[in-house]
């Protein structure tokens, strides 16, 4: 069965500092990997995805993610955090032959001024 872990419930970072939100997954095969962000009382917004190719993927709002196949990880990063980055972040996987996404439990990011 597919599963996604986000080991940190909460990540605190000072504005201007780099941020990392961690994600590991357990699936068979080569999954597609995604990051979404959710602001209060809103739906999920797509940030970036990894399908194949370069392990470093660049996405929206200055975010990037690094795929590591040996560690089955897909950590979200940003070189310099903004207060407006404070939100709930979800990692998700999808198998190439499937259509549904499996989401992690989410990590709440707080970027403080």
């Amino acid at each position: 069965a597919q599963s996604v872990a986000q080991p940190e419930d909460q990540v605190n970072v000072a504005e201007g500092n780099p941020l990392t939100v961690k994600c590991t997954y357990s699936v068979s095969g080569n999954p597609y990997l995604f990051w979404y962000v959710q602001y209060p009382n809103r739906g999920l917004q797509f940030l970036l995805k990894y399908i194949t190719g370069d392990n470093l993927v660049k996405g929206s709002y200055g975010f990037e993610a690094e795929f590591n196949k040996s560690q089955t990880s897909f950590h979200l990063k940003k070189p310099s955090a903004l207060v407006s980055d404070s939100a709930l972040y979800f990692c998700a996987v999808r198998l190439p032959y499937g259509q549904n996404f499996v989401f992690g439990p989410g990590t709440r990011l707080s970027a403080l001024p």
């Binding site: 009382n41 999808r94 190439p96 259509q99 549904n100 989401f103 992690g104």
Partner: protein
Amino acid sequence: DAGVTQSPTHLIKTRGQQVTLRCSPKSGHDTVSWYQQALGQGPQFIFQYYEEEERQRGNFPDRFSGHQFPNYSSELNVNALLLGDSALYLCASSFRRGANEQFFGPGTRLTVL
């Protein structure tokens, strides 16, 4: 171009009642998926519709049913509501083919009393 829209925004029902939630996909998308997001958790996949048929289903009871119309819009029906059905219900649309991300609507907040 309107994104994914959902109605209603909020809904309050009592145990045992039935509810219908509605979703219009992003223009051009042919596939609609429904997710349940309980408070403090990641979205859980309910089912997916393509070409007016349920194509994939998550671990939800038969009380949860759906429909897709020829214009690709979709409904989620829940019968015999339980207190545990209280959640944010998210609709997501995508293209069926390819490694495509899903675009999410703002959700319907269902409260069961």
